[in-house]
């Protein structure tokens, strides 16, 4: 039995129903706007850049002539940067997360650390550049090296990794810990052998997303003073270098029209790298995440 006759309802409130339908359409249009922009952006960059994307592009160093310009130094430099950022940011982030979730007592100091981390996450990246310039480049005299840039970037992505690791550790059920204690394991043994293995998928997912942010970030490196025009590869972490976003920034800000296509080709490589990293994160999340 139908309690409500919809035709009568529709007759009683036509304006209100029409308004509902129109607004629903508007909300939907707004939602598709984002997808539309993403589509245009990818299409533009793809059609502009694909012509320059050949084997030579990966083999060549930066050049004043657009047809000879390549991204070898930038691509290798980005990998070098990751080699510093990944271990430093992971160790610090994981350590902080374990401390906050497993050891910290509920007092003002702990809530101060937490407040501090959430505020740090909102500090503009260019300010981290000023910090890196003053502390790492000048005070510790690391110059414009892989190490100075890597430490700056590590601090930038640290809050993201801490929050992700905290959530992963928190989601490990109490029963697992209690079972471990029940078998006579100590706290640290429980953390290393039970909690961390169970939390690893969540930690990795968050960390890879944080690292991919470090790969795409430009502003702090500009301020630290990483050069954009380099025709050699770094040999140690104390050597100077350049990264993909810096190289793209350099090409973008050149007046010649052809360099726009070179920049687009560079962006294609950068986006491919980021999509690759994100897919790994999604893969880990889907494959290994257990629900307790």
């Amino acid at each position: 039995m139908k309690l409500i006759d919809k035709t009568i309802v529709a007759k009683k409130m036509p304006i209100r129903l029409v308004r509902n339908t129109i607004l629903k359409g508007l909300f939907f249009l707004a939602t598709t706007f984002g997808l539309l922009v993403l589509g245009i952006l990818l299409y533009r960059i793809f059609t502009q850049g694909i012509g320059y994307l050949d084997w030579d592009f990966f083999q060549n160093f930066a050049s004043r002539r657009p047809e000879e310009a390549g991204i070898k130094a930038a691509l290798i430099g980005s990998i070098w940067l990751m080699l510093v950022v990944a271990p430093v940011a992971l160790l610090l982030g994981l350590g902080t997360a374990i401390y906050l979730e497993e050891y910290a007592k509920k007092n003002w100091f702990t809530s101060f650390i937490k407040l501090n981390i959430s505020n740090l996450a909102g500090v503009p990246s260019i300010i981290f550049g000023l910090l890196g310039l003053t502390i790492f480049v000048r005070a510790l005299a690391l110059e414009r090296s892989v190490l100075a840039a890597g430490l700056t970037m590590s601090l930038l992505v640290l809050p993201v990794i801490i929050v992700a690791a905290q959530e992963a550790i928190r989601s490990v059920p109490r029963e697992l810990r209690e079972a471990s204690y029940g078998m006579g394991a100590t706290k640290w043994q429980t953390i290393v052998r039970v909690v961390l293995p169970a939390a690893i998928p969540g930690i990795l997912t968050g960390s890879i997303l944080a690292l991919s942010r470090a790969v795409g970030e430009t502003a702090p490196l500009v301020v630290v003073g990483i050069p954009m025009f380099i025709a050699f590869l770094p040999k140690t972490v104390f050597d100077t270098f350049t990264v993909l976003p810096m190289q793209i920034y350099n090409w973008t800000s050149r007046p010649q029209e052809e360099f726009q296509s070179v920049a687009a080709a560079g962006i294609l490589v950068l986006l491919f790298l980021l999509i690759f990293m994100n897919s790994i994160a999604v893969f880990i999340r889907n494959k290994f995440q257990k629900r307790y």
Binding site: L35, N116, G122
Partner: protein, 319 residues
């Protein structure tokens, strides 16, 4: 472990008494390591505090050095930012105004679109649509800002210039729109969280009284989620203020004190980039000026971040 292994283990264990085992454990070095672990972990946690201290002290010290050469009143009241001129003038207002112009244009784009997206996803869309659209929005949020900058300069500006021929090559409008696109996913996703957390019972109550879905959304759900929504907008605008690469690629480098959005501007972040890529020698007034500008930027975003935290924590309604 196979059965054989288990038996061996049992036999081995049987040779000890529990008391002996505990005794033996206590003598092992492991117990001493156990004591140091919390302090080591505390050290790693201290790094985040040291980072904040580092930021604050760097900015304060270098800003003080700057104010030894340029008076505080000039910094806040002079109406020109000409650090490279012969008779240099350091009035931060034009940079602040440039930043606010960008933020305002971005807000005009991002607030309605972000909010509409949030409402569509939480109130109207099916679970299936939501699962398709949300990840795409996440991709939009993950695009590096230099890519957006390139997009603004090579696509948005030319398109806008074909509509408004008077638009300069570098202007406030184009990067403002693109910054708006950049922060839209942030408003959409945080506001959606706020909308979704409004309890079903409130919607059902309103529906039972004969409201349309739109009325439920506008008169019940939105007011209930307003604190979360406002917090998400404040956070997103703070992000827009600190955005760097889009504005320095497409905004130009002409700090000006007017409300025109068609002409070249300069923001606080773009100025820091301009000095960093040029060669302002270490120790010059220009070198220190980037810290004074950085300090101003830091205070702006800090106040907004604290405000967002305050709104979402204190104004939150309990159900």
């Amino acid at each position: 472990m196979n059965e054989e292994g288990v038996t061996i283990l049992r036999v081995q264990q049987a040779q000890y008494s529990i008391r002996e085992m505990i005794q033996e454990r206590k003598q092992k070095k492991r117990i001493q390591i156990e004591r140091f672990i919390p302090s080591i972990l505390l050290l790693t946690a201290a790094v985040s505090i040291l980072t904040t201290l580092g930021i604050v002290f760097t900015l304060i010290f270098e800003t003080i050095t700057f104010f030894k050469e340029v008076s505080v009143s000039e910094f806040f009241t002079a109406d020109k930012w000409y650090p490279f001129a012969e008779a240099a003038s350091y009035g931060v207002m034009p940079l602040v105004l440039g930043t606010l112009k960008i933020t305002m244009i971005a807000a005009l784009v991002a607030v309605p679109i972000g909010l509409a997206t949030a409402i569509y996803l939480s109130e109207y869309a099916s679970e299936k649509t939501r699962r398709v659209i949300k990840p795409i929005l996440e991709v939009l949020a993950g695009v590096p800002t230099i890519v957006y900058g390139f997009f603004a300069l090579t696509f948005v500006t030319p398109v806008l210039r074909s509509i408004f021929p008077s638009l300069e090559m570098f202007n406030a409008l184009s990067p403002g729109l693109v910054v708006g696109i950049m922060i839209t996913p942030m408003i959409a996703s945080l506001s959606e969280d706020a909308l979704v957390s409004v309890p079903r019972a409130m919607r059902e109550g309103a529906l039972a009284l004969g409201s349309t879905k739109l009325e439920v959304t506008l008169k019940v759900v939105l007011p209930a989620a307003i604190s979360g929504i406002v917090a998400s907008i404040v956070l997103a605008l703070s992000r827009a203020i600190g955005e760097t690469m889009i504005v320095s690629v497409a905004g130009g480098s002409t700090p000006s004190l007017n409300m025109d959005v068609t002409t070249s501007i300069q923001t606080m972040t773009a100025y820091i980039v301009q000095v960093s890529t040029g060669d302002a020698g270490y120790g010059t007034t220009i070198y220190y000026s980037i810290y004074a500008v950085g300090m101003t930027l830091f205070l702006f975003t800090l106040v907004m971040n604290l405000l967002a935290q305050y709104i979402s924590r204190k104004v939150r309604e309990e159900y």
